[in-house]
Subunit: 137 residues, 2 copies
């Protein structure tokens, strides 16, 4: 086996280590929303899945620690942060796409949702640009 | 929005509903191992991540309920089952592949592991047969 750069929690498997970062029911939904243009805590909290705010706060902190996103203050008194995906975080788009394809094929009634910063549910042009509001995928 | 075939737990989002099925740290590792030729409970329990047996039993039952795998007895007294992925389960290979690519690129030292039924860790030729020392990023 190759020498790991850091000790792995479970094994050197790329899948296992990826799941140690985003293997839960919420993290990839946060990444989905950031990828689609949301950037603030309140925008993220308004997604239709209604992530509990304590879980949202914990996930944002954990994803920042894992290098998936960065945060920067956009307001003081009280301080508010905006969240932005890093290249590592944006690269999770490929995982999201695989989930979209699998879900749409195998879970009847599911759709690709683009949770943009407006909060509206807009079908996401997954494979080709075919939408009205000309938002970027 | 399309009329859902069944009520969704969180939203109609294909990603959210996929995560409701396999959004945890273990389910996709079980799928990985079945995809790579393992079929029995004891084979699955021997993977390097050492899934706790109570979690393995629960995940197998849940994945069967979700139509990801089927089980059939291969022995009586005591009864033992072999587990096989359904087409729906095999299709998760695309999600696994996305995780492998993301992990290998963004988590240093991780590798693609083929957990075959022998239990040996064999690097998996994911995209093309390249070998250990010159692993692609």
């Amino acid at each position: 086996m190759t020498t790991p750069v850091k000790p792995f929690t479970r094994s050197a498997c790329a899948v296992a280590n990826s799941l140690d970062v985003v293997g839960d029911k919420w993290s990839l939904l946060v990444v989905r929303d950031l990828l689609h243009g949301k950037s603030t805590y309140s925008e993220l909290a308004k997604s239709p899945e209604r992530i509990p705010t304590n879980i949202l706060a914990e996930r944002l902190e954990r994803l920042e620690g894992a290098g998936i996103l960065t945060r920067a203050p956009y307001q003081e008194h009280p301080v508010r942060y905006s969240y932005t995906l890093t290249p590592k975080g944006r690269a999770l788009g490929e995982v999201l796409l695989a989930y979209v394809r699998w879900g749409k094929t195998h879970i009847p009634g599911t759709v690709a949702i683009n949770q943009g910063s407006t909060g509206g549910e807009v079908p996401l042009p997954v494979t080709r640009p075919a939408r009205s509001s000309k938002r970027k995928a």
